[in-house]
Amino acid sequence: MNAFLAIRNLSAILRGGSQRVLRSVDLAVEAGEVRGLVGESGAGKSMIGKAVLGILPSAVSIVEGEILLDGRNLLAMPQKERRRTIGTVAALIPQDPLTALNPSRRIGRQITDRLVDILGWTEANASARALELLDEVQIQNPQRVMASYPHELSGGMRQRVLIAAAFAANPKLIIADEPTTALDVTVQKQILKLIREMQARHGTAMLFVTHDLGVVSKVCQKLSVLYSGKVVEDRAVSEFFAEPRHAYSKALLAATPKYTDPFASLLPVDEAVIASVDAEVKAADREWRHV
């Protein structure tokens, strides 16, 4: 087993506080594999992605653990080396394509920036690569799109541009942070299909952050369920959907509506389940302080 990204025992706290926001997180993504990271809002899904990319908000500090990228611990590197390592091997597909693109710059420049500034490519090579990628993400007329501004594109087109930008430098790892949450279902399906094809073709390891278990069941092979910054279940997707193990995962699955099964009663996560998983988190915290 050769995990490209391995997070070991990662704990983070809010600066000035003593409560952990990430609780001894263990998580691995192998090369060529997609791992889903699910949980409710505030569970810390995006925070894990940001920790890997080194873009945590300044109020959060990591107090323990390792983030290994290809066997090298990012957290033990000097700042400059860490940033270069992350910049060359990892990339992000963000949630909201409109805020992620600079409204006053042309699409082409926004894809080539990274190639030119970080990887030192020539402008001509970078432009050629950008064209090739826009074609790969099935954008009609890539020449015209290169010269367009973000507002001239539809939501689905913008998300395609961001996927192209993420794959531009041949990253080994991509963090996809709710990449289809802002899209319509039909567009979402096209974009998910595109992400999976690109990921498989390039053999990229992918951490796929989402709150939608339906999406996880379609694009991921493994998943981690997060509650209050703690991984409560880490399973292969096929096993998880056949039989989730943790009471919280079961409750989450039961609360997800399915149009094919409308009469299954939609149960909000039971208070007893919340109480028991909260107790589990507290117990983990007590143990952690004693170490």
Partner: protein, 271 residues
């Protein structure tokens, strides 16, 4: 007015706006049809789901039914009365009968007001008596403790805020409520709670509900009827069982097929 007459009856409804992207340098912009000749009824006590992709006219339709937008053609009858072109003063009784719940409870609840003021405000404006008592009863209905009356919106969770939005809408005891994407910002667990609550309220308070959503699983669960909009036109409309089990329009089938069910064995979904 008979009991089985529909509460809302829409005929030939059209909304057109000037298309500014095609406005000539001088002169008027040509009109663009946002809603194009819609005909439908909403029966008393029914829950109509309205779906469609972004830009299909769902929200415009909702706002027109509430007469926040004046139609450019056709008629809207509410409880037998034609409200299509009534002026603000004449609309007042209707305004009390038709309420709205908004998508984002954070931006639709005034952050500087306590829950009590948020719920009693519209009651006072409409000349209700016992406003405090009515606000407290509304909170009972949505399952929030009365102590929440003294809280501010930022002190509440997303699901609780959405319940306050619902309480504000039902406090007036309306006949009709429009809910525009009210669960799309919520986690599945809070979403399940809000859906169960709406179901209960429709029964207990004799409400008629129009529920705009892009989530067909939610619509199948909650609604009695569904209307599929595509580019401002109705492509399919009927009882949910019929539309989901035997969709007629190709676009409806495409929408259904695009839903990722939480099941890794859903056949060839990404193929």
């Amino acid at each position: 007015m008979s009991e089985d007459e529909p509460l809302v009856s829409v005929r030939g409804l059209e909304v057109a706006l000037p298309d500014l992207t095609r406005k000539p340098l001088f002169g008027k912009a040509p009109p663009i049809k946002i809603l194009d000749r819609l005909d439908f009824d909403i029966g008393r006590g029914s829950i109509l789901g309205i779906v469609g992709q972004s830009g299909s006219g769902k929200s415009t339709l909702g706002r027109t039914m509430l007469r926040l937008i004046e139609p450019t053609g056709g008629t809207i009858r509410f409880a037998g009365q034609d409200i299509s072109h009534l002026g603000e003063a004449a609309l007042r009784p209707f305004r009390r009968q038709a309420q709205m719940i908004f998508q984002d409870p954070m931006s639709s609840l005034n952050p500087r007001h306590r829950v009590s003021t948020i719920i009693t405000g519209p009651l006072r404006l409409n000349g209700f008596d016992r406003v405090k008592e009515r606000a407290a009863e509304a909170l009972d209905h949505v399952g929030l403790p009365r102590s929440f009356l003294s809280r501010y919106p930022h002190e509440l969770s997303g699901g609780q805020r959405q319940r306050v939005g619902i309480a504000r809408a039902i406090a007036m005891r309306p006949q009709f409520i429009l809910a525009d994407e009210i669960v799309s910002g919520l986690d599945v667990s809070s979403q399940a709670q809000v859906l169960n609550l709406l179901e209960k309220l429709v029964r207990e308070l004799d409400l008629t509900l129009a529920f705009i959503s892009h989530d067909l699983s939610v619509i199948r669960r909650l609604c009695s009827h569904v209307m599929v909009l595509y580019r401002g036109r109705i492509v399919e409309h009927g009882p949910v069982e019929t539309v989901f089990d035997r969709p007629q329009a190709a676009y409806t089938r495409e929408l259904l097929d695009a839903i990722p069910l939480p099941d890794p064995n859903q056949a060839n979904w990404l193929a």
